[in-house]
């Protein structure tokens, strides 16, 4: 599966486009202020997400959301497969020149993977953005380290210029505002954001963005099944207008984790048993800890003796982060950390370069994960020649790296880089060959923590969104998931391509202040217990003044606005053939209405009128035609329904069998 995906990513056009400016989106506030129609409010979402595959380290996430007149950038990722300008999102879509600050209200980073935060210093320092950048504490701690590491590889090793500097990373991090889980952060008067636990890596978060009654939830990458060191993503029933979800594993319902873990352990065990060495190239943070915990418990249970090493430097530091941010791990680790910190490994020791030549079996975790440089590559070169050894790739590899080549089954590797040659010479003095035979076993096993189709559906059930937007996945698979979502939840589901803008129209409810007197009066009318399931109609006067909406009783409104009450009355004449005298006709009408309109108050007043509720009926006739009676009906605007009913009723004439009392 992973292989297919890789081809896809390369063929994808690098078209990236970003948002609209504020002005394009009418804001709700302006509308109420101007006091014109309360029409629907548009919520524009423009998404630019490079559709990436199963790997967690490719693709580039950058989504722009316009909601209620606010523009928010969600993630600011970078593409690891490119070395040129296409690496970063095209921010010129937002503005052709100048800084981004005035076009963006805030930037939110979901987690520290470079495909979600890699372009951040480029955007804030080189393009120019001074507004707030929000991320969780662990992300804020780890993100600069990964960025610096990445910068070193790109600039120092590959010798690229026109790249951000260490100072830029530092300056960028100064703009970061840390975010706590479930804390409601008020970005400005109207815009608020709230973070939820996402369980993808340490500190990964989903964010809810809210302006007035409209809201969007962006999941970032998330995982719905708790693993050995992280908990499951969770969100409350916040009913967002749009849920933007990743869909990396859109069609897969992954085989149980237990199976994958068993496979992994079996392979490691077999290799170690026959005296081979196992190399596991990993990224310092994330899956490395998961696999360490897995091996640690296995070693303990099986009472294994073969040493496990962890390449030094970043990884050791990484474990320290896990210890300090233990509140972000799962329940079990948090509960037991005082007795035994899961990240203090008993069997796993720090690696030294010289250990690679030690005889006998061993397991080594080494960075980086794609075998493109550093310690993992060095060790790989030493062990590649022996078919007893094994390399397990737990993550995705970008095209062009050695990791990618060996996964494709390449058996002979050309070492093109001068630096590599020197390394080889140093390792095996006297031998100058430039190619390397790959004899060791190569295994690929995905342990990345993304939600599968079941997980995505589960999240939808949790949050109950009105619309769904899928990003960060493959078009074909997304299509399948989209159908499934639309079928099961009957909600709209969008899957915008890169650079495409999706607009969703929301039905915002309008908050109104109601005077307590009026509310109490209306409640008293409706009996003791209102039925919560049935909406109730109530009458009042809505005053729109100074940007506020207030519902008060009509009398109060008139008083407040200094207006006289105007009565709007409808009057109509109905001609009727009736041979009786006027008072008799009136009493006949009275009897008739009494029999037809049960449950209404009908009064026959001594002054020669009939009142039905507040509707007045009078009878008159001219001297010339005493049998043609003219009925005068008069009702106020409030009784329009009853009034028009009465007039049609009386037009039909009176039934003959009526007594005049």
């Amino acid at each position: 599966m992973a292989r297919e995906v890789r081809c896809k990513t390369v063929e994808e056009p690098s078209l990236v486009a970003l948002a609209k400016t504020h002005a394009a989106t009418p804001s709700f506030k302006n509308k109420t202020a101007s006091g014109s129609h309360l029409s629907n409010v548009h919520l524009c979402i423009s998404s630019s997400c490079f559709l990436s595959g199963a790997g967690q380290d490719v693709g580039r996430s950058c989504i722009l959301v316009s909601i209620g007149g606010k523009n928010i950038m969600l993630d600011c990722g970078m593409h690891m497969g490119f070395n040129d300008d296409r690496r970063f999102p095209d921010f010129s879509y937002i503005t052709q020149q100048g800084r981004l600050t005035e076009f963006l209200d805030c930037v939110i980073i979901s987690h520290f993977h470079l495909d979600h935060c890699g372009a951040l210093p480029y955007m804030s320092e080189m393009v120019g953005y001074d507004g707030p950048i929000y991320m969780t504490h662990p992300t804020k701690a780890i993100c600069p380290i990964l960025l610096e590491d990445f910068r070193k590889i790109t600039v120092d090793k590959k010798g690229e210029t026109n790249f951000f500097t260490s100072q830029m990373i530092k300056d960028c991090m100064k703009k970061v505002v840390p975010l706590n889980l479930h804390q409601t952060v008020q970005v400005d008067d109207e815009l608020e954001i709230k973070a939820y636990y996402a369980g993808h890596v340490l500190g990964a978060a989903m964010v809810q963005i809210k302006v007035g009654s409209e809201s969007v939830v962006y999941t970032g990458d998330y995982n719905m099944t708790p693993d050995r060191h992280l908990g499951a993503a969770w969100i409350d029933k916040c009913r967002p207008d749009i849920l933007i979800s990743e869909s990396t594993y859109a069609t897969t319902i992954r085989d149980s984790k237990r199976c994958r873990e068993r496979d992994f352990l079996k392979k490691v065990h077999e290799t170690v048993e026959r005296g081979g060495k196992v190399l596991i190239p990993v990224f310092a943070l994330g899956r490395a800890q998961e696999l360490c915990i897995l091996l640690e418990t296995f070693w303990e249970r099986m009472n294994m003796k073969a040493p496990i090493y962890f390449s030094t430097g970043l990884t050791e530091k990484a474990n320290h982060y896990y210890k300090l941010f233990i509140t972000w791990t799962n329940q079990k680790i948090r509960k037991t950390f005082v007795q035994r910190n899961m990240f203090e490994f008993k069997h796993i020791k720090a690696f030294d370069r010289s250990y690679a030549d030690n005889p006998g079996p061993m397991v080594v975790f080494a960075t980086p994960g794609m075998l493109h440089a550093g310690q993992s590559l060095q060790i790989f070169k030493k062990w590649a020649g022996n078919e007893k050894n094994m390399i397990i790739m737990p993550g995705y590899c970008v095209q062009g790296t050695i990791g990618h080549k060996i996964l494709n089954g390449q058996k002979k590797l050309e070492m093109e880089n001068r630096q590599t040659v020197i390394e080889i010479e140093r390792c095996e003095p006297g031998c100058c060959h430039l190619s390397l035979e790959v004899k060791l076993q190569v295994e690929y096993m995905s342990f990345s923590a993304h939600a599968d189709a079941k997980g995505i559906m589960q999240l939808i059930r949790m949050a109950e969104p009105r619309n769904m937007l899928l990003v960060h996945g493959e078009a074909k698979k997304m299509e399948f998931l989209k159908d499934k979502i639309e079928q099961e939840f009957t909600i709209n589901c969008f899957m915008p391509a890169n650079g495409e803008t999706t607009t969703v129209i929301t039905n915002p409810s309008v908050p109104v202040d109601i005077s307590l007197n009026l509310l109490k009066r209306e409640m008293a009318l409706g009996g003791p217990l209102p039925d919560p399931k049935k909406p109730r109609t109530m009458h009042g006067t809505l005053i729109m003044k100074d940007n506020s909406l207030r519902l008060v009783s009509p009398e109060q409104a008139l008083k407040e606005l200094g207006l006289n009450e105007h009565q709007l009355r409808f009057t109509c004449r109905v001609q009727l053939q009736d041979p009786h005298s006027d008072p008799d006709t009136l009493s006949r009408i009275y009897t008739h209405l009494k029999s037809v309109l049960k449950g209404y108050t009908i009064q026959h007043l001594p002054d020669g009128t009939v009142m039905v509720e507040s509707i007045v009926i009078k009878v008159s006739s001219s001297a010339e035609e005493p049998n043609t009676k003219v009925l005068l009906l008069s009702w106020s605007y409030q009784d329009e329904d009853l009034g028009s009913f009465l007039s049609t009723l009386l037009k039909k004439g009176l039934p003959s069998g009526l007594s005049s009392m």
Partner: protein, 636 residues
């Protein structure tokens, strides 16, 4: 809107606010000063304490030899220590919907409130408050259960007898409500009702009220609370600090524009400057050690001790105390030190940036690593063999009535070389020392209380401008010992509304507006009508309002509520209904009754799948199963 005051202690409050048909309890502090009336509980048999004479009244008419013992002219109760609980009679505790906790010192009465009272609500607290609160409760239970005392004294509590007793015992209040400590089971059950919240998280209660915790700067995870509807705002300020210690700084601006501000938990030591006290603490400690004596610091196992250790970390290098061992003895010492390091989000900016490096935020990690600070669960076990003198011992309980501190008092009390330094402000040090008299050991009193003082609070109130202030009556007059200090009280315009134990205050509110939502389909009607142009834009229209009755919410929240529960519940509220009425009402509202399933639902398809799995794996060799990691931790 009403405020019921269940505790008279100004720093350990327990108030109940009734607001828009929700009942909210604000904190449940446990007044532990009552334990000062009791004899200490020694860890090892103390001949001195067991030989104390019993008390008999002067005329010999009352003989309570068994219950009361005399020591250095004072009378103590010889029984398991008891605590003074919040008032339980003022209102029905089962009607409480939520409890808001402000800090871990103010939740110690929680098991008394939530257990065995019919309480079905939720408790809201921040994560550090919950975790450290749990540690403090665990410690308390451990202290009590470690040295069980069969005897329980009850006779002295009779009003006629208490009246005739000497000294402070005669003046003890509410003795009939005094209770023994809860059990660990109660603690676990009470804490399982806690729901975690983060600072500035908006929590909706039944759609009627919104509550929000704010950072209060006093301790890890300590919070003030905002309780508001769309038009009314009540701020609850409890235990706040403006000093820069380890917790996140206080959030003041969110308290602005409150209608009512309930002010509790001001400093208990208004005349003592915490920085000066910290200096005194260090210099006295150094002096004693240099003279070859030991230092005993009775303290709580979390809170100020972190600051003390941090201060000592800098101090010992300069003062040449590098070789002196520091011991921290408490059943939860290790947990407390470990927990303090993992709450980066709740710490001040300085400490947060340390975590980014990554380094532990508190320097006591280094003290432990370099073996300068050692922690032990109790004086038994490893400690007795590794213990070296002269040394500094931090241990509880600060009342000197139970815990390991009792042992050190007996051990070191007779030598004038040793010093005891009091740092916790909760107990009067003279009262605490009373049962150990005569005492040769030096006593130093350096109470460190970082909570707001009167100067800070008046500045704060000027800034946030609440319409009304409610506070314990103690704050409306100068402390009795310093009656001339008119600066040690609250002077406000309008004057604050004082409360005492058992007060019920009506809060001055005039509710005039309520927020409703217009359904969007009303929109067109509105625009249509506006075309009528009645002079100005004013028109009538029918919005649609939904009101959720609270009773239904209660059933939905807790589906195991029975009809009988509701009948009782309503009867207490003064409404008499029958069970069939309840069923009918609930059915009308869409809630049906059902009985709980006793086994998991297994449809035929599940049965088939299980059978298939079993058949497939029937012949798997045993080694295969060894490779399986069982998610339920089964071991094969």
């Amino acid at each position: 809107m009403k405020l019921y005051c269940l505790s008279g202690h100004p720093t350990l409050p327990c108030n109940v606010l009734k607001f828009k048909s929700t009942t909210i309890m604000l904190d449940c502090g446990l007044d532990t000063t009552s334990v000062l009336q009791f004899l200490p509980l020694p860890l090892v048999h103390s001949p001195r304490l067991s030989k104390l004479p019993g008390w008999v009244s002067k005329d010999g008419t009352i003989n309570l030899e068994k219950e009361l013992k005399e020591c250095a002219g004072r009378v103590f109760v010889d029984s398991q220590p008891e605590f003074c609980l919040p008032e339980k009679e003022l209102l029905d505790l089962s009607t409480i919907d939520v409890i808001l906790i402000s800090n871990y010192h103010c939740m110690m009465a929680l098991p008394y409130i939530t257990e065995h009272t019919g309480f079905t609500g939720t408790v809201y607290a921040t994560e550090p408050t919950l975790q450290i609160g749990r540690l403090l409760m665990e410690e308390l239970v451990n202290f009590m259960e470690r040295v069980p005392k069969a005897q329980s004294a009850t006779c002295w509590k009779y009003k006629e007898i208490q009246r005739l007793l000497p000294g402070p015992l005669k003046d003890a209040v509410e003795v009939s409500t005094w209770k023994r400590c809860y059990s660990m089971q109660d603690v676990n059950s009470a804490l399982s009702k806690v729901q975690l919240v983060g600072y500035s998280q908006k929590v909706e209660l039944f759609g009627a009220v919104q509550v929000t915790p704010l950072s209060s700067g006093y301790s890890l995870g300590s919070s003030n609370w905002i309780i508001q509807s769309h038009y009314e705002k009540v701020s609850y300020v409890s235990g706040s600090s403006l000093l820069t210690t380890h917790p996140q700084p206080m959030d003041q601006s969110s308290l602005k524009n409150s209608d009512v501000l309930i002010l509790t938990g001001l400093t208990q030591m208004p005349t003592a400057n915490p920085d000066g006290m910290l200096g005194d603490f260090c210099s006295n400690l150094a002096m004693t050690i240099r003279a070859g004596g030991n230092v005993l610091v009775p303290c709580y196992s979390s809170g100020v001790i972190y600051d003390l250790l941090e201060c000592l970390y800098q101090f010992i290098e300069n003062a040449n105390l590098g070789s002196t061992p520091f011991y921290f003895i408490s059943p939860v010492a290790n947990s407390s030190l470990e927990f303090s390091q993992i709450f980066a989000e709740w710490l001040c900016h300085n400490k947060q940036s340390k975590v980014y490096l990554p380094e532990p935020p508190f320097p006591h990690a280094e003290l432990i690593q370099t073996n300068k600070l050692k922690h032990y669960p109790s004086i038994h076990g490893d400690f007795s063999s590794e213990f070296r003198q002269p040394c500094v011992v931090f241990t509880g309980h600060p009342s000197l009535r139970f815990g390991d501190v009792v042992h050190f008092m007996e051990l070191w009390g007779k030598s004038s070389l040793n010093t005891i330094i009091f740092t916790e402000p909760d107990f009067s040090y003279l009262d605490a020392l009373a049962p150990y008299q005569p005492l040769a050991m030096k006593c130093v009193y350096c109470p460190i209380d970082t909570r707001l003082n009167f100067h800070q609070v008046s500045k704060l109130l000027k800034e946030v401008q609440p319409l009304h202030v409610v506070c314990p009556e103690q704050y409306t007059q100068p402390p009795p010992a310093q009656s001339h200090r008119s600066d040690l009280m609250l002077e406000l315009q309008p004057p604050p509304m004082p409360y005492r134990r058992c007060s019920v205050l009506g809060l001055p509110f005039r509710r005039r507006w309520e927020r409703i939502q217009l359904l969007p389909d009303v929109g067109p009607v509105a625009t249509h009508l506006s075309d009528l142009q009645w002079g100005k834009k004013i028109f009538t229209q029918p919005p649609i309002v939904q009101v959720l009755p609270l009773k239904k919410m209660r059933v939905r929240k807790n589906p195991r509520t029975t009809r009988g529960d509701l009948v009782n519940n309503l009867q207490r509220a003064g409404t008499k209904v029958t069970k069939p009425t309840i069923s009918n009402t609930l059915r009308r509202q869409g809630l049906k009754s059902c009985s709980a399933r006793r086994v998991t639902l297994r449809k035929p398809v599940h049965v088939q799948a299980r059978l298939k799995f079993a058949r497939e794996h029937l012949d798997d060799p045993e080694e295969d199963w060894e490779n399986v990691i069982w998610s339920d931790e089964t071991k094969i």
